[in-house]
Amino acid sequence: MKKENVIEAHQLTKTFGDFTAVNAISFEVKKGEIFGFLGANGAGKTTAMKMLIGISKPSSGSAKVAGFDVYTQTESIKKNIGYMSQKFALYDDLTVNENITFFGGIYGLPRKKIKEKREQLVSELGLENISNKLVGSLPLGWKQKLSFSVSLLHEPKIVFLDEPTGGVDPITRRQFWEMIYKAADQGTTIFVTTHYMDEAEYCDRVSIMVEGKIEALDTPKKLKEQFNVDSMNDVFLKLARNIE
């Protein structure tokens, strides 16, 4: 079965003055794929992702996200993607229920649908007893799981996760990855940026950016074979050494 591409980037480039932050990157991501987008600090990951989610206009090249053009259809892109990062997630001074209602509203869901989604989400995460508590009072791991669920509220085709699981304990981190597998299994594409290589091992395919270019792109297994090492951490070290 050949799956459709939900992200297609071709020679995508972004320059700031005479500095080329993203240098002609080309890649595709398939429906339901978990795609890891790696790179050292300053390699160009964030700039590339900003172009894909429609908040930064490319300097040259082309890209389609969820079937929409990154130059001309950025509003349609935003409606069809979810986004979660550790830096911006939920509002600490709203309750669990209020956050869900708020983001449902932002995504333009009808009231009835929000109510339905809210009940479903609270019960799936086992938050029944604390749904009226402020999000600020929840442990970090719960916040992250809730934040991921909220990014899926409007049933987006793609979810962008920007360093999602830093700092959580190993069990919670695995529960989080089980949620990611579930979403991917249901056809949602997952685009993850991280510079923690153990997370890279969970991805179907991984790209590694070095100084604005994609220097490697394959399954973690094949990358490890190609570089003749045991872990993605070693793949990364071989590619990205001494660049600062």
Partner: protein, 300 residues
């Protein structure tokens, strides 16, 4: 003992941040506190660096009591907090001079200690600290924490948010400092860094789960772990969770780590169970436990 904690507890209002914690760090040891956000690591650092008074228990650092002898401790330790705490609007060189002066010394006096770290940031010595990259900020902070030649060095999550290349270089620096007879207490949420310490304390919810060498902690793991893989990861986890002999299943990269309740594990039995559920490309082989496996087992 370079660092000694005896029955230390600290609460913030209703939250018990650390509860009855005791451990010792030997002179010249590289000791790791391994735990997630909220485990209590920073509270322990603040108590040991005399920035916070414990509710109960006693602790000494370099032979001095953390409450009574706080002034002596402040002169003999270096502390690199989790948040970048240098002056963003001073240059690299000004920051270093400032911290040297505060401790009544000069950059020249202890230059040998910081030399191999400082040379890496020296090309940027006239740049303001706020304009440095993450890796360079971290190196400058380490230089500032070392400039008065401390006996004990406290590093609170020095590698959080830092890319793998800089992380590796940072740990190589710590290994070199250790040879200069500095005792190091370092915390990290990243389990792979635990293996680089002489001894570690695994900590969760303010309590210590285990203290030992990383090898010993891994060797104590009570079960055989199997790497199990199949064509569909989500379905594999779901299916294994329904298996009657399951003890635990956790995703681990391209495989899951599976442990079985039985003493004698039947590879063929599990394989046919997974096949019946419609999974293909099934792969089952024993593998070694790592620190994360040990942590999850202890935290159960």
């Amino acid at each position: 003992m370079s660092i000694s904690l005896s029955h230390i507890s600290k609460s913030y209002k209703k939250v018990k941040a650390v509860q009855d914690i005791s451990f010792n760090v030997n002179p010249g040891e590289l000791f790791g506190l391994i735990g997630s956000d909220g485990a209590g690591k920073t509270t322990i650092f603040r108590i040991l660096t005399t920035l916070l008074i414990p509710d109960e228990g006693t602790a000494t650092v370099a032979g001095f009591d953390v409450v009574k002898d706080y002034k002596a401790i402040r002169k003999s330790v270096g502390y690199m907090p989790g948040r970048f705490s240098l002056y963003q609007d001073l240059t690299v060189e000004e920051n270093l001079t400032f911290f040297a002066t505060i401790f009544g010394t000069t950059i020249e006096e202890n230059y040998d200690l910081i030399e191999d770290i400082y040379v890496q940031i020296e090309p940027f010595k006239n740049r303001r600290a706020g304009k440095l990259s993450g890796g360079m900020k971290q190196k400058l902070a380490l230089c500032c924490a070392l400039i008065h030649k401390p006996k004990v060095l406290f590093l609170d999550e020095p590698t959080t948010g830092v890319d793998p290349v800089s992380r590796k270089e940072f740990w190589e620096m710590l290994k070199r400092l250790q040879k200069k007879e500095i005792t190091i207490l370092v915390s990290t949420p990243y389990m792979d860094e635990a293996a680089l310490c002489d001894r570690i304390a695994l900590i969760q919810d303010g309590k210590i789960l285990e203290i030992d060498t990383p090898e010993a902690i891994v060797n104590k793991f009570p079960k055989t772990i199997y790497n199990v893989g199949a064509n569909n990861m989500y379905k594999l986890i779901q299916t294994l969770q329904g298996y009657e002999h399951l003890y635990s299943v956790f995703p681990f990269g391209e495989f899951v780590h599976y442990t079985d309740k039985r003493d004698s594990f039947e590879n063929a039995d599990l394989k046919s169970y997974l096949e019946k559920a419609g999974l293909t490309d099934i792969h089952i082989e024993p593998t070694l436990a790592n620190i994360e496996d040990a942590f999850m087992e202890l935290a159960r």
